[in-house]
Symmetry: C2
Subunit: 341 residues, 2 copies
């Protein structure tokens, strides 16, 4: 297929009988250039469909206006809302976004970061893969590029982090269960190192303690992979205990949906006998019956906020940034799995 040629500054300059420098400056609205010249240049540029060669520009100015994003799993609904926020805010600020998936594989994550650098991104937004223990490669990258963590973060990495109020959100959810009269609240969390899981667990523990409820290891269950299937398995475990729980909090909606499905199969009444709470406010949480009480995380806002902080760092490459942790508020959405209207 024959492709059109995109005109260059040189061609515009020649057609107008002026220098390339003047054309460049006119297009960039440089103060030195007269209005008349600016207008002539801009008119011709528009006419010829001039598009600046971003590679020549980026090559020259060491800036590409591209942001790299690394996420563990792009198919999670919540992740897509984060990405939507990132795309929107980036676009507003004149940035493009390169996305890659680490598939929760730490080596792949490192590889992705390296290609990001190679592709000249101006900065990186990352949500950590599970099991990211060795942070040396990440620290190395931080020497080269601004990096901001979002959603799946880590206190060990000295950079700005944009997260939700995981601990508090869970605290509120557990407190809600206590308010509706539940006293024996089980939790299904992740066994592997996971920032979100740990924070949520802390909120769970604090809520029990502050309400003088006993902490019972038997109803604190950890799974490798926090999925619907594991939710089902763990529910069978919990409901075969001598002292069954009267509520189950799962740290993800998918696990919570597994819980509901199994409780229904066991003919356990929800929420009267056992109440269920999830985390994420995924679409699924409104499909399941009874609909799931869960925590709504404003993904778009988190994504957009992360972009703002990143561009701030990109624009001030020589400043030392104090590494803030920005907590975005989430909301408990009460539905029929805990409280019937």
């Amino acid at each position: 297929m024959m492709k059109n040629k995109i005109p260059t500054l040189k061609e515009i300059a020649e057609k107008l009988g002026i220098s390339i420098s003047t054309v460049s400056r006119a297009l960039n609205d440089h103060q030195d250039i007269s209005e008349v010249t600016k207008e002539r240049v801009k008119a011709l540029a528009a006419d010829l469909n001039y598009i600046p060669n971003i590679f020549a520009k980026g090559f020259r100015t060491h800036k590409t206006n591209i942001i790299g994003v690394v996420v563990p799993n792009i198919t999670h609904y919540f992740t897509t809302t984060l990405i939507r926020g990132i795309l929107e805010e980036a676009s507003l600020q004149g940035y493009r976004v390169i996305i890659s998936e680490s598939n929760n594989d730490v080596d792949k994550q490192t590889e992705m970061l390296n290609t990001m650098i190679q592709f000249g991104v101006d900065g990186v937004l990352m949500s950590l893969s599970k099991m990211t223990r060795d942070i040396s490669s990440i620290l190395k990258i931080m020497n080269t590029l601004p990096l901001i963590l979002f959603d799946k973060a880590s206190n060990k990495i000295p950079c700005t982090q944009v997260v939700i109020n995981e601990e508090e959100a869970t605290y509120n959810a557990i407190e809600h269960l206590i308010n509706i009269g539940k006293r024996r609240i089980a939790i299904i969390k992740e066994s592997e190192f996971s920032y979100n899981s740990e924070k949520r667990f802390e909120g769970y523990l604090r809520a029990l303690k502050e309400n003088n409820l006993p902490i019972d290891e038997k109803i604190i269950l950890s799974v490798d992979d926090i999925s619907m299937i594991q939710g089902k398995r763990m529910t069978n475990v919990l409901m075969s205990l001598k002292q069954k729980p009267d509520a189950i909090f799962a740290i993800t909606d998918s696990a919570a949906i597994g819980v509901i499905k199994t409780l229904k199969k066991l003919h356990v009444k929800i929420p009267e006998e056992v109440a269920v709470v999830g985390f994420s406010n995924s679409i699924n949480s409104t499909i399941i019956e009874p609909m799931l009480t869960t925590i709504d995380q404003p993904g778009q806002k988190i994504g957009a906020t992360a972009v703002k902080y990143l561009i701030e760092e990109i624009n001030h490459p020589n400043e030392i940034f104090i590494n803030k942790t920005i907590e975005i508020r989430s909301n408990l959405i009460i539905r029929n799995s805990t409280f019937k209207v």
Copy 2:
């Protein structure tokens, strides 16, 4: 933050006392260079963590190894599977992916395409926004860059298209309903111009005709926005008809889930009184009870295939490509909404 400097060919050349040209050639495994030199150069490059400046390279060779992707809505699960396939195949072939969302807004779609060009992508993969009637801007872009359509395609645009066998898949689904004894099959489709909706409607019509079933306009419903809410509304319409349908085919899972929810509210037995079929095999289709019979679309394969064809075109910029339509096979997944085991 102070950032590390990435070494250049020049530094390697100086340290080794050879020319830049030789270093460049050694790194690119040029045949002219001796093995000894190659090894020395590569060793030092590895040592210094040399990363080629892709912008200098792209600028020089007019190739960026970046693919642009435009999708209507990134939060749809099926879209994320398409993207996953694109990311994987692109990564295998050494390409990065810039993603943007058109939000089903035709103007935004055009804008996105233009920024893609500006950012020097080597080619574009696009899934059309609804209501893309004016294709002039797309045709214009095809003069500049290779473009391939996937999933939401259009016969009017002369380019390679990667889609599923929409018509045949629907035909099979309707035939399945006929096989289980259904005779009055309603369809809920989109009213706006939509490639997928039209193809599915064609399959529906053909199945009825070939089985000598009457086509009744009263049970052919069109909605603007094919959502769960519309599925609910349309079910109320259908179930208040004198001659109620004994099966409902909705062209998306979300609408089909709305159908099931409403049928349950109306105490209609599924599938005995009314069977339900969706399209997509979304996660939701297994959450709803009864689980939804639907059509599984191999998103990853579609995405990967689209990338392959695009890179083929990128690598042969002066060839005229015959615009093929590649149909990827989908599968009917039979579940309890049509057939109880």
